[in-house]
Amino acid sequence: MEIPLLITAFCALLQVIPYYLNIPVIDAASGTMREWMLLVVNMAVFVGVISLGQVHGKRIQRKGENWPFSVVLIAFMVFMAIVGFPLENIGLGFKNNQYLFMFNNILNPLGGTMYSILAFFITSAAYRAFRARNWEAAFVLISGTIVVMSNAPLFTSSMPFLITWKNWIFDVPNTATGRGVMIGAALGAIALAVRTLMGIERGYLRGGGEE
């Protein structure tokens, strides 16, 4: 466990020190390290492919629940990976027609729809759970309703004072909340970073069935 901790500390200090001290050699090394690290990050491209392959491959092998869907998943994953391979001289790559077809007609609509479905759940939640049960809930309800109404031209065209109220909510309690949380989070992030540098925080190194 010691080598990774030393690597973490070294890499972190290599980024922090040149920002505060003008040492050209370390500055150059820091810049090269940033670019070099991006190569390492991009090499992780097949981790997701292998992980999904393992989970769904096992399901197919054991004919587990919904295993035909796992076949579909792996088929689409492999097909997308193959047609996107950067071999433009044989017609593959991310400007390949099949790749663009999959992006425009499958990934694009699915991605947009997955997130938009939450609109229905938020509406159902607004009806079933958004109650002014106490003063705090009333505060959420009132400010939420004002902001919802002020985002709709239907209301703001006939009740322009809603925009003024929304601006006040945005500028005062919302900013205050955001600022307080941000300052607290920044202190927490600094503390976590220092703990990681010192080797006290080791959570990111867990796994592999050891210790």
Binding site: Q15, V16, A81, F94, I106, A119, V147, V172, R179, G208
Partner: protein, 240 residues
């Protein structure tokens, strides 16, 4: 008339969209199918861009000198160690690569987070004028922010029994009301985002420009087909 491949693409996109929305009726095979396709395509999609970047970097930079070639090979070595996570015996090697990424990331964030998310915010707070001549509302607002921010901070710093003692009783209550008003605003904007996304999909389904107009017919046909299958499945199960 649009080319056949484009028409097939439009019908595929409508099918994918409505298959996800069929979840609103209840869990069903259409939704499962679309969900699995999405997972597969999302993962396969990124392969193209990542490999293209590695190839471009090699051609344009890292192949240009002996030292850079050596560094690139070392990067490949550490990159291969990512896959040690799938082995119990060699899992320790995966930690080396992870340590490089985590360490560099921490260093990148640590060096300026103290300015962007701490000092700049403190300075903005300190710059607030509690009295703005001629503008009572602004004076009131600035005073409120000047009180609210420390209250919110103290709320998070003093937890448990510390909140029930002395002035913390009142600070805690004031902070909660501040945050509730802020969260209400967050709810309001969340409604806007989710409905904007749904409206965008609805504009596509209805073939509203610049979306292809052929989508509307596909919407009617596929929606009817999915609804019929869902009602039939529901009705048949109920009968049996």
């Amino acid at each position: 008339m649009i080319p056949m491949w484009e028409l097939i693409g439009v019908w595929t996109a409508v099918l994918m969209t409505l298959a996800i929305y069929s979840f609103l009726y209840g869990e069903n095979p259409w939704y499962r199918l679309a969900e699995h396709i999405f997972a597969g395509v999302s993962v396969g999609y990124a392969v193209a861009f990542n490999l293209d970047y590695l190839r471009d970097q090699w051609v344009n930079k890292w192949s240009l000198s002996g030292t850079l070639v050596l560094l690139y090979m070392i990067a490949i070595f550490f990159g291969i160690l990512w896959y040690a996570r799938f082995s119990k015996k060699y899992f320790f090697a995966y930690r080396w690569t992870l340590a490089i990424i985590v360490g560099t990331g921490i260093g990148m964030a640590l060096r300026t987070v103290i300015f962007t998310q701490f000092l700049n915010q403190i300075m903005a707070q300190a710059r607030l004028s509690l009295w703005v001549p001629g503008d009572l509302l602004q004076s009131f607002s600035n005073t409120m922010i000047a009180i609210m921010v420390p209250c919110v901070l103290l709320y998070f710093w003093f937890t448990g029994p510390a909140r029930d003692r002395g002035p913390m009783k009142y600070i805690e209550k004031f902070a909660r009301y501040t945050m509730m008003a802020g969260f209400g605003a967050a709810f309001g904007y969340t409604v806007l985002t989710r409905y904007s996304l749904f409206i965008g999909r609805a504009q596509f389904l209805l073939g509203i420009t610049p979306n292809p107009p052929e989508a509307r017919m596909a919407f009617y046909v596929i929606a009817a087909a999915i609804l019929i299958t869902l009602f039939a499945k529901d009705h048949l199960f109920k009968k049996t």
